[in-house]
């Protein structure tokens, strides 16, 4: 049954995600600049970039097939659904039964497959290079993410994200060893999937080192704007999922719509701290050689499996 409060909280979450995601990216960029002793762009710079890109004409290669032109929309749609089912403000989400954690991983995979196909569509060397690398990162990151989510599922006996967060938020404060290990694995996976240093430098201009950027080399105009926005949404979603799984306090439960008023500043505070930590990780680490990335992700995968085993052995 869809209650009014459920509908409102769902709509609010989607709008909040769409509105705040570029802000999070801007915050991370600001802190990265300050930590590197540079003067930072404005906090609202990503919005200006999106506005500029939407105004520009979209230049498409002559040899492009329709996949190239529809992929940005599909990726954007997938990321919107991800943000809709990730409990940011409240666990009262009517859309939550439609997609659980396994479907969440499937959504990320769908977006990845489409963007890789779009990169291969033009048939340039960098596009296919980026596609190959993105699928490599994905093939190792996706099972690691799934196993992290499984650890949480095993503890809460549910695979629905809203249910997991609800259960974890209302339990007395306890440190679950499996969740600690899973949290480390989740950080590794989040760094890899969102194209952050040490896996991929989002601000690089050297094509041979690009992974995510190489996929979107051919895009311009509104297509590029949608992809950038989708990338910001992905980072927002990963941050919110991480916060919801490992620091769930403050998220409004089902049937308490006014608690969202408290949940909002709590979320902003948590995201701010998370953004600073992300910028710190990016500044301290150097980007890895591409051939080391499978090792990095395999470490994340093994940590996630260890988290599962810790849960099975210790029951916590």
């Amino acid at each position: 049954m869809i209650t009014l409060s459920g509908f409102v909280s769902q709509l609010l979450e989607i709008i909040l995600a769409l509105a705040l995601a570029p802000l999070l990216t801007g915050w991370v960029n600001q802190w990265r600049a300050w930590l590197q002793n540079r003067s930072a762009p404005s906090l609202l710079q990503p919005y200006r970039v999106l506005h500029k890109l939407f105004n520009k004409e979209s230049v498409v290669a002559e040899s492009a097939s329709p996949i190239f032109r529809i992929a940005p929309y599909i990726v954007f749609g997938c990321m919107t659904l991800v943000c809709a089912i990730a409990p940011t403000l409240s666990t009262d989400l009517p859309l939550a039964p439609a997609a659980d954690t396994i479907a969440l991983v499937g959504l990320f995979a769908l977006a990845r497959v489409f963007i890789s196909l779009a990169a291969m569509d033009i048939g340039t060397s960098f596009g296919t290079l980026g596609a190959r690398r993105e699928m490599l990162i994905g093939f190792l990151a996706e099972p690691a993410l799934l196993m992290v989510l499984f650890s949480a599922s095993l503890i809460t006996q549910s695979t629905s994200l809203a249910n997991i967060v609800e259960t974890l938020a209302h339990q007395p404060f306890a440190i679950y060893p499996s969740l600690v290990v899973a949290g480390v694995a989740f950080t590794f996976v989040a760094l890899a999937e969102n194209a952050r240093v040490p896996v991929d430098n989002p601000a690089t201009h050297l094509e041979l080192t690009m992974i995510h950027e190489a996929l979107i080399l051919e895009y311009s105009g509104r297509h590029l704007a949608l992809i950038e926005w989708a990338a910001a949404l992905k980072l927002f979603a990963y941050s919110c999922i991480g916060l919801a799984l490992f620091f769930p306090w403050g998220i409004a439960g089902a049937g308490t719509p006014l608690a969202m008023l408290v949940a909002m500043p709590v979320l902003l505070a948590k995201l701010a701290i998370g953004g600073v930590l992300l910028a710190l990780i990016e500044t301290i680490n150097a980007k890895m050689r591409l051939f080391r990335v499978p090792e990095f992700l395999a470490t994340a995968f093994l940590l996630a499996v260890i988290a599962l085993l810790v849960h099975v052995l210790l029951g916590a």
Partner: protein
């Protein structure tokens, strides 16, 4: 007379209709006579489909549902059951084959008339099987076979489900084949028609067989007819080799299956399945039967290490045959495993499940890693089939494991996942193989290194194969994802197993499954991207023609199957529930139905749920809103220009990634799995040649040593043949002496 919509067997509805005195003037007396004669022929003496009836007038009630014609003449009532209709349809297939022989070289007649009729028969078969799934089991005894060993046939839930898979998938393949067989395939088209329809008929009869004799006869017919289909282009030596290897492994498997039936009949001499069900074997003999069945059916399915024939035979066969073999024939092996483990063997041991799990996992990992490094598009799909068969064995293994610990509802969940994957794989793998058939006919190329950019020349094939690629990668909201979702859900329950060792092992297995699914996506992106996207790597690709109308129809049928099975999982789970009820005694359909048709929730709604329709609706809504808002608030202008590629001026088609290059990261990570030989040119070659061959380790570890040992042993025995008649006379004399001594000693 209204066709009732309430549940209940079809026979009850027919009886009620007769009691109501309903008459439909459908065909009249002629049809009644025909039905009566067919009914008499099919009912062998001793096994009667006839029931006495009180009515005395000649009424003909036509079953508009699925196939029971109820003819009342005098005071006998003939009921043609689902099984009778299925036998009629299978006979129709054989008739089509004979017509094909009569029109041996008339390609147009065979292709445009016979194959579409075969597709219609397949569709009818699927419909009847679907109806039979919700009905009671039916048996029949055919007056074929040896004098005291007639063919026993039985149509129960498991057979009906696999008949549904066979009928539905082969309908699309037959329609495609109607448009495909237009050029010389090395065999006269009429002969191909015969072999093809005998293949289909034997597969249908394999799943219907109720005793070991008819099972083995049909199994062998299936193997032989598919051998002839694989070697359709028999003038090419490589294809003959592939066919011979296939036949060899198939027969090794058949021997194991025969031995398994020998163990199952437990010295009673009665080889019917009903007798085997009644036997209770000791754990030792039951395990022996199970191991033999795993070996035998595993050889047909393509389990490690008996998989070597798959990557040879599937590329060698014409594409519709590859689709049929990969999408449908491999499932008969799954049927065999299910029939023997759950139906004929009364109890299961836990380590059987663990063995199937381990075998399936190894097979799946091996298959998917090798599929990512292939450079031939059909070999890539063949290895992908090996991977999917591995996943099926994992699901069945979990089912056996849970059943051994009496966790029946969880076993039903695992089996439901496996059975869902059966039908889903049948559709998307057939679609992919048929797509490669279209590409092969359009370009003449099988190697991935010579294709590319076909999306613009062949949009129909491209878009439909994209659906197959997305389904094969297990992406929501298509059918591959539902099966994977159910399988992963059943893994989440395994922590409740009493055995702590298994409890620890299973999260590792779940992680491996996730890894395999991700790698499958990698292989599929490579497959689609290298063939259909990018720039054409050969100039002749510019003349590629799109698929013909019949080919498109077949592809559309299979693609819509992938979509429908992905968006509407609940009705299919109700159907699969009948099979799990038969095999285990319970099913998940009641809990699933409780949660409505929109959501798939196998246990409780809070525990796990997935709604593909809402998923698709929300994503499409987001996409539409994005399109509308962007075009309204900003603009939708597009300018076409040459590709940017970071400003590099000279771009050729050779600059994009090759298939080999795309697989290079996987090759580097999984180096021990792959045996690769490369010949690199030196800088001083006048005509540099680059040669790479990727081989299977098992060929060198297992098959070549076995072949060498066999040859050595045979040569040893061959020393008996000295070639001189004096020696042979000496043999006869010595044998006579020995026999006389034996007789005297007695």
């Amino acid at each position: 007379m209204t066709v009732g919509s309430e549940p209940g067997t079809y026979r009850q509805w027919v009886d009620q209709a007769i009691a109501d005195g309903a008459v439909l003037p459908f065909g009249g007396f002629t049809a009644a006579t025909v039905a009566r004669s067919v009914g008499i022929w099919l009912a062998a003496p001793g096994e009667s489909n006839m029931e006495p009836c009180a009515a005395s007038r000649c009424e003909l009630v036509s079953g508009l549902g699925i196939g029971t014609i109820h003819a009342v003449t005098d005071d006998e009532v003939f009921v043609l059951t689902h099984l009778d209709w299925i036998l009629v349809l299978v006979g129709g297939w054989l008739g089509l084959g004979l017509l094909g022989i009569a029109a041996l070289r008339h390609t147009d007649f065979v292709a445009r008339v016979l194959f579409p009729v075969g597709a219609a028969i397949a569709l009818g078969l699927a419909a009847i099987a679907l109806s039979a799934l919700f009905d009671d089991p039916e048996t029949a005894v055919l007056p074929l076979g040896l004098p005291n060993l007639p063919f026993h046939l039985r149509l129960d839930g498991l057979s009906a489900y696999f008949l549904l898979v066979i009928g539905a998938a082969s309908a699309g393949i037959s329609v495609f084949a109607a448009g495909y067989f237009r050029q010389g395939e090395g065999t006269p088209p009429g002969l191909l028609c015969l072999e093809y329809h005998v293949f289909l008929a034997s597969m249908a009869l394999v799943v219907l067989a109720d005793d070991a004799y008819s099972f083995m006869v049909m199994w062998e017919t299936m193997a032989l007819s598919s051998f002839f289909l694989v070697t359709a282009n028999h003038r090419v030596p490589a294809i003959r080799q592939a066919g011979f290897l296939y036949l060899l492994v198939a027969h090794i498997g058949a021997i194991a299956i025969l031995l398994c039936f020998g163990v199952l009949q437990a010295n009673t001499g009665d080889y019917s399945f009903a007798n085997m069900r009644a036997q209770s074997l000791s754990p030792l003999w039951a395990s022996a039967a199970f191991l033999l069945a795993t070996f035998g059916f595993g050889a047909k399915a393509g389990i490690l290490p008996l998989h070597v024939w798959l990557p040879e035979a599937h590329p060698a066969a014409p594409s519709p045959v590859s689709a049929l073999m990969s999408g449908v024939m491999l499932k008969t092996a799954i049927y065999g495993i299910l029939r023997i483990s759950f139906d004929l063997l009364n109890v299961q041991l836990w380590w059987w499940g663990a063995l199937l799990l381990a075998l399936g996992l190894a097979t799946a990992l091996f298959g998917v890693v090798l599929s990512t490094v292939q450079t031939d598009m059909k070999r890539l799909l063949a290895y992908s089939s090996i991977e999917n068969i591995g996943l099926l064995f994992v699901g069945i293994g979990l089912g056996v494991l849970f059943n051994a610990y009496d966790m029946h509802s969880l076993s039903a969940l695992a089996l439901t996942a496996a059975l869902y994957h059966v039908i889903s794989h049948a559709f998307f793998k057939s679609l992919l193989f048929l797509g490669t058939g279209s590409v092969l006919h359009a370009t003449g190329e099988r190697s991935l290194g010579k294709l590319g950019g076909l999306m613009r020349r062949m949009p129909w094939v491209g878009w439909l194969v994209l659906i197959g690629v997305l389904a094969s990668s297990g992406l929501p909201p298509l059918s591959g994802f539902v099966a994977e979702w159910l399988l992963l859900q059943s893994f989440l329950f395994t922590t409740e197993l009493p055995n702590s060792f298994l409890n620890m092992l299973v999260p590792v297995v779940a992680a491996a499954i996730a890894l395999i699914a991700a790698l499958a996506g990698y292989a599929m992106v490579k497959f689609f991207g290298v063939i259909f996207l990018g720039q054409p790597r050969e100039p002749k690709l510019a003349e590629a023609q799109d698929a013909s109308l019949l080919e498109r129809a077949g592809l559309i049928w299979l693609a819509s199957g992938c979509v429908v099975l992905g968006l509407f999982p609940v009705p299919l789970i109700s159907a699969i529930d009948r099979v799990t009820q038969l095999l285990i005694g319970t099913g998940i359909a009641s809990t699933v139905r409780n949660n409505g048709w929109l959501l798939l929730a196998p246990t409780t709604l809070e525990r796990a749920s997935y709604s593909p329709l809402i998923f698709l609706a929300v994503t499409c809504l987001a996409v539409l809103l994005a399109v509308l808002l962007v075009h309204r608030l900003y603009h939708g202008r597009v300018r076409f220009a040459p590709p940017w590629d970071c400003g590099y001026p000279a771009q050729t088609a050779r600059m994009q990634d090759t298939a080999e290059g795309f697989g290079q990261p996987i090759r580097q990570i999984f180096e021990p799995f792959i045996r690769m030989h490369r010949e690199l040119p030196s800088p001083f070659d006048e005509k540099p040649v680059y040669h790479v061959s990727i081989e299977d380790h098992f060929w060198h570890w297992l098959y070549l040593p076995v072949a060498r040992t066999t040859e050595r042993f045979a040569r040893l025995v061959g020393r008996l043949q000295q070639g001189r008649i004096a020696i042979y006379l000496l043999y006869s004399f010595l044998t006579l002496l020995v026999l006389l001594l034996v007789v005297v000693a007695k």
